[in-house]
């Protein structure tokens, strides 16, 4: 009753092509934004902001990045972790060399370095595809990881071999470093993620996104209708790596406040890939669902048994968590192989025809 398009007449072409044609959808998005920008900072404590919301947003951004590549363009990549690393190390170098520049600028600009590296490693994608390409991107993963460890210049020759995040400000407010409050860091992350999500949404609904999807569905056919494959695929790699790079810079500078190369290892790549697949390939909303589920699931599983009165030792709990996560991944795939985004779609359809079955 509440959610249907009846009575909402579209009188302009723009209204017809809108991303959210229904006012109910727009209201919902508005509510989410309101919750993100006003309710959570007011109601939440530091723990919620630090340990839940900031990582969730950072991972969502990385998942959107990978989704643009894997979900929209159909190019599988296992190098996400390394591309995030490029962003983090680029940001580290930039802010060391130019300490007076607004850190917000460097957080975004470091994505450009990641984009350049991503484009370079995207070159083989013209010749190879599918799982072959996935394995080829592993070359990027391992090579870059090796660089992060072996080139001391990247981490400013620090003894520990880790990035040490210095105090940096934007407009006089500390953003990174120990004195930055969780609230500012949360707002920085949220603003960047909101802005970049908006950009990604516009990108995939426009000409570029459509050419990506054409390449995904069948690249030979796409070539025949006049899409140039190399620029299209490379652009997908560049944009995807840009998003991952910014996510990596945020991860280290805003969330962790210092990190070693190990943060960007192959497991990080798989972790982001899980989010994209569980959330739904080719869906920006799905990236958020996936990030929420994959990031929260282990935390929830770890904190649940004590509340339910099941005594589990530390190590045992860890192992059981692994097993349950594995089993749940399989279960999710069996129940809905197209990801959580499809579930949301089904729910929407059910709401539209409610209270009738169809």
């Amino acid at each position: 009753m509440l959610y249907r398009e009846a009575g909402q007449y579209k009188t302009t072409y723009a209204a017809d092509m809108a991303v959210f044609p229904l006012w109910q959808d727009r209201l919902l998005i508005g509510l989410f934004l309101f919750a993100g920008f006003v309710v959570i900072p007011l109601a939440g404590n530091d723990f919620l902001l630090n340990a839940v919301m900031i990582p969730f947003l950072v991972f969502s951004l990385a998942a959107i990045g990978l989704n643009l590549l894997t979900g929209y363009t159909g190019l599988m990549s296992l190098g996400t972790g390394a591309f995030m690393g490029v962003g983090a190390y680029a940001c580290n170098k930039l802010t060391t060399l130019f300490p007076d520049v607004n850190i917000l600028f460097w957080l975004i600009a470091s994505g450009l370095f990641s984009a350049a590296i991503g484009t370079l490693f995207g070159l083989p994608s013209l010749r190879i595809k599918g799982f072959y390409l996935a394995v080829a991107t592993l070359a990027a993963q391992f090579f870059l990881e090796w660089c992060f460890v072996r080139i001391p210049w990247l981490y400013n020759d620090s003894v520990s071999g880790a990035i040490q995040v210095p105090l940096r400000t934007a407009f006089g407010v500390p953003i990174t470093g120990a004195t930055a409050t969780p609230m500012t860091r949360y707002y920085v992350t949220l603003s960047i993620v909101t802005l970049m999500t908006y950009l990604a949404s516009n990108l995939v609904h426009g000409r570029i996104g459509r050419s990506w999807m054409a390449v995904r569905d069948m690249d030979i056919a796409a070539e025949l209708i006049g899409i140039r494959l190399l620029p299209t695929k490379l652009l997908a790699f560049a944009v995807s790596s840009f998003y991952c790079g910014v996510a990596g810079a945020l991860l280290v500078f805003v969330w962790y406040g210092g990190a070693e190369a190990e943060v960007f290892n192959i497991n990080q790549s798989f972790f982001i890939l899980f989010m994209v697949i569980i959330g739904g390939l080719g869906s920006i909303l799905g990236s958020f669902f996936g990030a929420a589920l994959i990031f929260m699931l282990p935390i929830a599983l770890r904190t649940m048994p004590p509340h339910l009165g099941i005594p589990l030792g530390g190590a045992t709990a860890e192992h059981v968590t692994d097993m349950v996560v594995g089993a749940l991944i399989i279960l999710f795939l069996i129940v809905e192989p197209n990801g959580l985004a499809r579930l949301a779609q089904i729910l929407k359809q059910k709401l539209r025809v409610w209270p009738f079955p169809y």
Binding site: M76, P124, R127, I128, K129, G130, F131, Y132, V135, A136, L138, A139, F142, F143, E145, W146, V149, R150, M218, I220, A221, L224, I266, F270, L273, F274, I277, I278, L281, A315, T316, E318, H319, V320, T321, D322, M323, V324, V325, G326, A327, L328, I329, I330, L333, I334, P337
Partner: protein, 319 residues
């Protein structure tokens, strides 16, 4: 600039010429590592051929099989009985995977199936640690009558030492590959397997049971995993770090082609030898540790010229 070129192009070969015993030793080590990579790749290829599933869990299956074997022996089961029981466990695993994972996901996209094997990986990691603990264990090599020690050969102006376990590994791997080849060529089930690999639909239409075939290939991959686990375990130790070597099998796979058993073997040898030679002769130029990515770069270079791998079937795309 000339100096650098000299260091890259000439010096390594001069070193090879002046110390041929070191070269032969390195080649041998590369070949042995290559054989073991090839064994893991073989497990991948078996499953990929028959079901089109890119089985990421092969690496953890290696660990799991080795852990089960050692764990059973620790609980007082005699070595060979433990071996038989481990084989039984791998059979149970194959049946369970087919029932619980593959059957409900039939006809889904490749990426969903790939993802499901990730789920399986996590599950097996958790299960393995829960049952056998996360500590590294010693493989029961002597109980299984695997040889120990080394043979020293005096040749080329130096000593070349061949570990007996490595020789055994090479022999066992060859026997395994030969028997798999015979199994594929000569038996009823083997023929059915090849039919399924060619076309699922055609195989179904002549009355081949896909479910049965899947159990058979996962079981075969389990046996291969067990053999790999024993060999790797005997060379170092049985721990979850072994899982990392599964990632090393991936460049082997793309080098040889996902669908080719000879490809897996040749690819394994190329990667094994290339990696060891590269690390020894060219590694010091960039500070060492290049073993971690060299294999991928070698594979990538091959791929640029043959996108389907050395022995892979030619990819023909139609609109």
């Amino acid at each position: 600039m000339m100096d650098l070129l000299m260091k890259i192009l000439i010096d390594p070969f001069v070193q090879m010429g002046t110390a041929p015993d070191l070269l032969v030793q390195t080649l041998w080590e590369g070949l042995v590592a290559g054989v073991l990579y090839a064994l893991i790749a073989l497990g991948f290829v078996l499953i990929f051929k028959a079901s089109g599933v890119f089985n990421f869990a092969q690496g953890i299956m290696v660990v799991f099989a080795a852990l089960t074997l050692v764990g059973l022996h620790e609980h007082g089961v005699p070595a060979f009985l433990a071996l038989a029981l481990t084989i039984a466990v791998m059979l149970v695993l194959a049946v369970v995977v087919e029932r619980v994972v593959l059957r409900p996901l039939v006809n889904q996209s490749d990426i969903a199936l790939f993802m499901a094997t990730f789920g399986l990986t996590y599950f097996l990691i958790g299960l393995g640690e829960l049952l056998f603990g996360g500590n590294p264990k010693v493989m029961i090599a002597s109980e299984l009558y695997l040889p120990k020690g080394a043979i020293e050969i005096k040749a080329l102006g130096g000593f070349i030492s061949l570990q007996k376990i490595d020789i055994a590994a090479a022999i066992i791997a060859s026997i395994m590959v030969l028997s798999l080849a015979l199994f594929f060529q000569k038996t009823r089930i083997g023929r059915a397997l090849r039919a399924v690999a060619d076309s699922h639909k055609a195989a179904l239409s002549v009355g081949i049971s896909l479910e049965q075939i899947w159990v058979v290939v996962w079981f075969a991959a389990g046996i291969v995993a067990l053999a790999t686990g024993i060999m790797w375990g005997a060379r170092s130790e049985v721990s979850f770090a072994l899982q990392i070597i599964a990632l090393k099998a991936l460049p082997v796979l793309i080098l040889g082609g996902f669908t080719s058993i000879p490809g897996a073997i040749v690819g394994g040898l190329i990667i094994g030898v290339g990696e060891k030679l590269g690390e020894l002769y060219w590694g010091p130029l960039v500070g060492g540790g290049i073993e971690s990515w060299l294999a991928y770069v070698i594979a990538l270079v091959f791929l640029l010229f043959r996108p389907q791998g050395l022995f892979g079937e030619k990819i023909i795309e139609r609109i």
